[in-house]
């Protein structure tokens, strides 16, 4: 009885062992000399193979840096720290780039922008946005909150709260997956140190915006007139900040009647709650 178990186990083990010996021997015999920098580069790269650099995974990017001089700062996940390490390995000084994060340009949660009709379809923004009016939400530009971006995020950085997507900037690696996935084009890549942002994506006229959402931009231009640095402009009924010029003085945040412009350090959280 015992032999019935032991013999097969022994035979398979011996077989495996012999094959392992052959493989080990041939791994040594057929060794290919490759650029030793590739292994070093692979060690510093994050290894998530997201493809944000434009190459097929981290190894491919490492090979291209080492052999064909690909740009050193393409790794969005690793950001400046990784770019610096890559520079050290390649013996080049890297000028660090601004860290970018994804930002959802919408604050119209379930209470602020009501639904036009009840949606009972797939829990997926792409299919919902194909319906009349671009989805159930009153504002046809707003976040549908069905979580298509949550599903594509490899870093667990997005949650849906009260019907809108919120990005955890500590976890966001700016890989751009959500930006591509969002059918409303509502997610934007912004510099992480820009604290003042316009939380609206609506090109509706003032009247429609007023009707559709409590916190939508009504293009009143108060921000544009208040800004001393020429950093915010209203075009097509929507305020937009030029992050290169913005000094984060909060003047526009203070003056915005609809609390559309926010300082994401939550200075205006209290103000917004009061309005609501």
């Amino acid at each position: 009885m015992l032999m019935n178990i032991l013999i097969p186990v022994a035979i398979l083990s011996v077989l495996g062992f012999v094959l392992a010996l052959v493989l080990g021997y041939s791994a040594d015999k057929f060794k290919v000399e490759k650029n030793p920098k590739i292994d070093e580069l692979l060690f510093v790269l994050p290894g998530v193979n997201c493809g944000a650099c434009g190459y097929a995974g981290c190894e491919n990017y490492a090979v291209n840096i080492a052999n064909s001089g690909a740009p050193l700062t393409l790794c969005a996940v690793g950001g400046p720290p990784v770019a610096e390490k890559i520079g050290d390995i390649m013996g080049v000084k890297v000028s660090t780039v601004d860290v970018m994060v994804a930002y959802v340009k919408c604050n119209g949660d379930c209470n602020k922008s009501k639904d036009k009709y009840e949606y009972h379809g797939l829990m997926d923004c792409v299919s919902a946005s194909a319906l009349p009016g671009g989805g159930a939400k009153s504002c046809s530009y707003g976040c549908l909150g069905l979580g298509t971006c949550v599903k594509v995020c490899d870093f667990d950085a997005i949650v849906i709260k009260d019907g809108i997507a919120i990005i955890d900037e500590n976890k966001c690696t700016s890989c751009g997956a959500c930006i591509k996935a969002c059918p409303k084009n509502i997610i934007e890549s912004v510099p992480i140190n820009s604290r003042v942002r316009v939380a609206c994506n609506s090109y509706d006229s003032a009247r429609d915006a007023m009707q559709n959402c409590e916190v939508g931009c009504i293009a009143c231009k108060k921000c544009e007139n208040t800004c001393q640095f020429d950093a915010i402009h209203v075009n097509n009924n929507l305020a937009k900040i030029d992050y290169a010029k913005c000094t984060q003085c909060n003047a526009c945040v203070e003056v915005c009647p609809k609390v559309t412009i926010e300082n994401i350090l939550m200075i205006n959280k209290a103000k917004r709650d009061k309005t609501a």
Binding site: P8, V22, S26, F30
Partner: protein, 192 residues
């Protein structure tokens, strides 16, 4: 069974991809470019010939005498996986261009059910060593034929035809594969 019959049967009548539906993954994956398809076909031919010989020997001299018929699937997977590793190292050394062209599909051969399927079929059909070698080379050439035909069709489709947007990419490939499988059905009349 006569050797020629085994060969024709494996290559055309019971084509491994288009009649037995084995190895579909690489068949769809590597059939975008003819050059890569030829490389993949050759790699599969090489691996299949070696794998069926190896697995036949293991079966005949190790498993059958000990009454371990039931272990053949596990043992064959082991043999095939090791062989693929070996082939990968060999190609990496011998032809880096081919290695680049095959990309991630070379390791896929180790989980290619066509290779395992043929090794198991050899044992099931109770072929001799030579018979199983002929059977597996025939099957591999059938795979080669199917994937090269497919790659040629796809190259031509991409170049000249105006495919509706909803059919571009994988859908048209699957439709093509269906039509190819149906036309290969015609070979069923070859053997009676």
């Amino acid at each position: 069974m006569n050797i020629l019959l085994i060969f024709i049967n494996a290559m055309l009548v019971n084509n491994v991809v288009l009649s037995r539906f084995l190895g579909i993954c690489s068949f769809l994956g590597v059939s975008k470019k003819k050059d890569a398809a030829i490389g993949m076909g050759l790699a599969v031919t090489f691996v299949m010939a070696m794998a069926s010989t190896g697995s036949w020997l293991v079966y005949k001299f190790l498993l059958e005498p000990n009454g371990l018929d039931y272990l053949k699937t596990v043992a064959f997977i082991l043999v095939i996986a090791a062989l693929v590793q070996f082939v990968e190292m060999f190609i990496k050394k011998a032809s880096p261009t081919l290695y680049e062209a095959l990309g991630i599909y070379l390791p896929l051969i180790s989980t290619n059910c066509a290779v395992l399927g043929i090794a198991l079929l050899n044992v099931q059909m109770e072929l001799s060593l030579f018979g199983s070698l002929v059977n597996s080379v025939g099957a591999a050439l059938g795979y080669f034929l199917a994937i090269v035909l497919m790659a040629s069709i796809r190259e031509k489709l991409d170049r000249v035809s105006n495919i509706p947007k909803s059919f571009q990419g994988l859908p048209i490939t699957l439709v093509t594969a269906t039509l190819m499988a149906m036309s290969f059905l015609g070979f069923q009349g070859l053997l009676k």
